[in-house]
């Protein structure tokens, strides 16, 4: 969030190296290399290798016309002119803003370095490309991330580093895969293939196992945010979820309309914020004739088909999502349609459904006809009457790497063609490229208990480390019933994940009041905190779309040179400015948390810490309400007053907690109407907020706004922590914070809060300016 907001694609930078293989001939030495058309062309016998920049920090290796496996078919990278192309007797060297690629004519070796000459990757064995193998070498000490996550029931190792043979595939439930490996040393390798097999052996990175001899790969350079920004541009941006999806989601199995309404009523009575109820099999006529899989179950939800239930829930600020399965009843109208139109997944026979015990069969979403049909008129009616989110389950069961992505693609393309409302979905595995279809993922049918909960951390951070920023889990665990303490801690954990939801198996209830008063109080506090932070969270939701860097960031992502966090999963960054380290052990009375270098402030107690070391915290084993949460120096954190759901009241004033550091820090504040895709046409509000210390004072700056969306927002109520102002030029002083808030106009005041001395600034939102708080 350190750069001004700019519209996607306007800033697409370019660089690339294209490597084209013609046929698969015998390889001879003595290749001929020459600089041509802004790239490097290497020819030997029938093999031609072309290297060309397609972004400032991306070198493309092109084998044949691009096959769209993970690359966004709507934004195929285009070559750009390098800064410099030198063709000498010894080498061809190509210089782009983010790298230098040098082809040594004598050895046939490609060296990729930073512009300053620091070695990143070497490709000495280009002959193996002819047999579909990429062999790159790098410093043996370089940590490697990405490629794969973990499936739901797999015993995981608490770590993010990848070694040995690792397979990039969409995989089983909970798995996330991408043909993408990267290093905090400053490089990434993206192969446009599905699946792919990586072998990480010391300083050698080998990729093979492509389904065909056609392949293109990309060598990316830069910091982790730069690498992920390029990854997003290459594989496609993740559309912004509806704003309600930033809130709390209660997925629930085994309820009917009456119980649903009772649950919603209780949430509202207890003032526990919530935005979405997600329904399991119950909502639909599962395995019933006449499109039962697509329509309401009017026995359990009698007011579903008429829209009356939607009207009731709309009035309470609740959205519904419903489960969707890839299989339908064979002996039915819809089944016969699928048979007649060849929509079945041929490789998998009809099987008895475990829930209905009727014969069902998976559809093949790789077929365009299936995708067009699936968002059919019956489903459109369900959508119109309240099912506005798609919880896609079990499409991982075919073992096909495209099936899940294409199932959600069907719903995404169908909904976008039918409605202006934003698409939301949750899916049970991931492969890079799926994010283009508003594709959230969850970690599958996980067990309850502290061990299972703790193992979700590496699952989340692994998925994010390969490009799936929209991750969530069955909070509380799917299988079994969590203890009261486990539930409370799980809610606190979930509040600091991208998709904040709870779910359990049949008859398992996951509402906070089911777990006793202590857990209810702790859970309520965490959920309310989540809602306070929604202005912060939503800005990062936009950043995921705009810059390919989202809300939850593994520590090595933010602190790439800190060896202590290379494999860290115990803590992560929630945005740029909050470090969270949830309690994941039962009965814990203390926790050691490593804080990277810099100054940190305890979020709840204002206690200050110097980073670069571990700190020991006491943990409340009695009330379970403490969340180890730290504010990074330089923080700019927008928040809002309590609400029960997103959009409950117009947001007129955004609170902005600011912790100035000596250096300049930024936050790109973003908002829009939260419901449709007009942001793609410039209907949004964005403004960069900046701060830095100046002697004993500090400066707060609001940049020019961008976007043409008219927000109700009038003011930023900025709290400059650790700064005692004696004067602020250009605005009037008020008695205190209350007086400042009560005045409809800009001003400033001083006071004290949890963090000590504070200077308040009330500033007009959307207007550029700079305010110096003088001590």
């Amino acid at each position: 969030m350190g750069q001004p907001v700019v519209r996607r694609y306007l800033t697409v930078i370019a660089a690339g190296l294209i490597l084209t293989l013609l046929a698969a001939p015998s390889i001879r030495a003595d290749p001929t290399a020459r600089g041509v058309d802004g790239g490097i062309s290497v020819t030997r016998e029938r093999q031609t290798i072309t290297l060309r920049p397609v972004a400032a920090n991306v070198l493309q290796v092109h084998v044949r016309p691009p096959a769209a496996f993970v690359i966004d078919p709507h934004s195929q990278p285009k070559p750009v002119t390098p800064d410099k192309l030198e063709d000498t007797a010894q080498a061809v060297a190509l210089r782009a803003p983010g790298f230098v690629a040098r082809w040594d004519k004598a050895t046939g070796t490609l060296n990729l370095t930073t512009p300053a000459g620091q070695p990143l990757l070497t490709q000495a064995d280009t002959a193996s490309l002819a047999s579909g193998r990429i062999v790159l070498t790098h410093a043996a000490s370089d940590p490697i991330y990405g490629i794969r996550g973990y499936f739901a029931t797999e015993p995981s190792q608490a770590g993010l580093l990848r070694h040995g043979v690792q397979v990039a595939k969409s995989g089983e439930q909970g798995y996330a895969g991408a043909p993408f490996a990267w290093s905090t040393a400053g490089f990434g390798v993206l192969v446009d293939a599905r699946p792919a097999r990586f072998n990480l052996d010391g300083g050698t990175l080998t990729v093979d196992g492509f389904p065909s001899s056609d392949f293109t790969y990309y060598l990316i350079t830069g910091t982790p945010p730069e690498i992920f920004s390029a990854l997003s541009r290459l594989s496609g941006p993740a559309p912004i979820f509806p704003k309600w999806a930033m809130g709390f989601i209660n997925s629930q199995f085994g309820i009917d309309q009456a119980e649903l309404l009772d649950i919603v009523k209780t949430y509202r009575q207890k003032q526990i914020p919530i935005d979405n109820m997600t329904l399991d099999f119950d909502w639909k006529g599962w395995s019933e004739d006449n499109y039962g899989e697509f329509r309401w179950n009017d026995r359990k939800f009698p007011d579903g088909p008429s829209g009356r239930l939607k009207t009731q829930l709309d009035a309470q600020g609740i959205k519904l999502a419903g489960i969707m399965k890839p299989r339908i009843l064979v002996d039915s109208v819809q089944g016969r349609y699928a048979t007649d139109h060849h929509l079945w997944f041929d490789a998998k026979p009809a099987l008895g459904d475990y829930f209905s015990l009727k014969m069902v069969r998976d559809l093949d979403f790789n077929k365009p006809d299936t995708r067009r049909w699936f968002f059919n008129d019956t489903l459109k009616h369900s959508f119109d009457t309240g099912i506005v989110g798609w919880w896609n389950d079990e499409a991982d069961d075919t073992g096909d790497d495209y099936q899940f992505m294409n199932m959600q693609r069907s719903l995404y393309e169908g909904q976008r063609a039918y409605s202006k409302l934003r698409v939301w979905s949750l899916n049970r595995n991931f492969y890079l490229g799926s994010q283009r279809y508003a594709y959230g993922m969850w970690s599958g049918d996980i067990d309850t208990g502290f061990d299972s909960m703790a193992s979700q951390r590496e699952r989340m951070l692994s998925a994010i480390s390969l490009g799936e920023w929209k991750w969530g889990m069955d909070g509380g665990g799917f299988v079994g019933r969590p203890s009261d303490e486990n539930y409370a801690r799980w809610i606190e954990f979930g509040a600091f994940t991208p998709i904040f939801r709870v779910h359990g198996s049949l008859a398992e209830k996951r509402q906070p009041w089911r777990y006793g008063p202590v857990a209810e109080a702790a859970a309520t506090r965490a959920i309310r905190l989540r809602y306070a932070l929604i202005p912060y969270i939503y800005s990062y939701e936009h950043a995921t779309y705009d810059s390919g860097v989202g809300l939850v960031r593994p520590l090595p992502f933010e602190f790439p040179t800190d060896a202590n966090v290379r494999n860290a999963v115990d803590s992560w960054m929630f945005g740029q400015y909050l470090l969270v380290s949830p309690v994941v052990t039962g009965g814990q009375i203390g926790k050691q948390v490593y804080l990277p270098k810099g100054r940190w402030t305890g979020y709840f107690d204002g206690k200050e810490y110097e980073g670069g070391r571990s700190v020991n915290l006491s943990v409340d084993a009695k009330n379970w309400s403490d969340i180890p949460l730290f504010i990074r120096e330089g923080a700019i954190i927008p928040s809002q007053a309590p609400v029960q759901y997103v959009g409950q009241t117009p947001l007129l004033t955004v609170n902005v907690d600011v912790f100035p550091a000596d250096g300049e820090s930024h936050f790109n504040y973003y908002d829009d109407n939260g419901t449709n895709y007009n942001y793609e046409k410039g209907e949004y509000f964005a403004q960069t907020l900046s701060t830095h210390r100046s002697g004993k004072g500090a400066v707060f700056t609001t940049g020019p706004r961008s976007g043409k969306y008219k927000l109700p927002l009038k003011y930023y109520l900025v709290k400059m922590h650790g700064v005692t102002g004696k004067s602020v030029a250009g605005v009037a002083q008020r008695k205190d914070e209350d007086a400042l808030r009560a005045t409809d106009g800009p001003g400033w005041a001083t006071g004290k809060d949890t963090y000590g001395e504070v200077t308040y600034l009330k500033l007009p939102a959307g207007h550029p300016g700079s305010w110096a708080v003088q001590p």
Binding site: E172, L351, E394, T398, S505
Partner: protein, 163 residues
């Protein structure tokens, strides 16, 4: 998901088993090492004390089923395993081929068994456990859940065949 649902639907069924058909299925055979690993996994499975009797009773069904599924690549595995299944519910045996979850496993070979875990009793007369299959070459794994029901003669048959 929802094994509890399956068990609830199947509880009380006790029907004489059908004939075996595993020999008719064209599958690779496990190596001696793989057979040893299976035996080791069975012996070292973390079985709660109160389930050890049931676990032993169920061995005659568990070993051949797990061994077969480690080698059989198709979705119709249970058509070859009817003798080990609660009869009358073959259509409800929703099965996920462990091999189908791999991308680089040689289908001419069997997968190996890394371990058996999560041995539990849900309702009385039931037994659930998980098997972690793996492919030594590609480092790919597949974890499958199995559920069994005790029969009147104290034998055990499968109600859930690995998903």
């Amino acid at each position: 998901m929802v094994f509890a649902v399956v068990l609830a639907l199947l509880a009380g069924h006790d029907i004489t088993a059908l004939a075996a058909d595993t020999t008719a299925a064209p599958t690779p055979k496990p190596t001696k090492l793989q057979t040893d690993e299976l035996h080791q996994a069975l012996e070292q499975a973390p079985v709660p004390e109160n389930l050890k009797g049931s676990w032993q009773e169920a061995q005659p069904a568990i070993e051949p089923v797990v061994s077969f599924l480690a080698c059989y690549p198709g979705w119709d595995a249970w058509t070859h395993l009817a003798q080990y299944q609660v009869p009358g519910f073959s259509g409800s045996t929703y099965y996920l081929s462990a091999i189908s979850s791999t991308r680089y496993h040689d289908p001419g070979k069997c997968m190996s068994i890394r371990h058996i875990h999560s041995v539990k009793q849900r309702p009385d007369g039931t037994l659930t456990f998980r098997v972690l299959f793996y492919d030594v070459d590609s480092n790919e794994e597949a974890d499958r859940t199995f559920g069994m029901l005790r029969q009147a003669n104290s034998s055990w048959l499968f109600a859930r065949g690995g998903f």
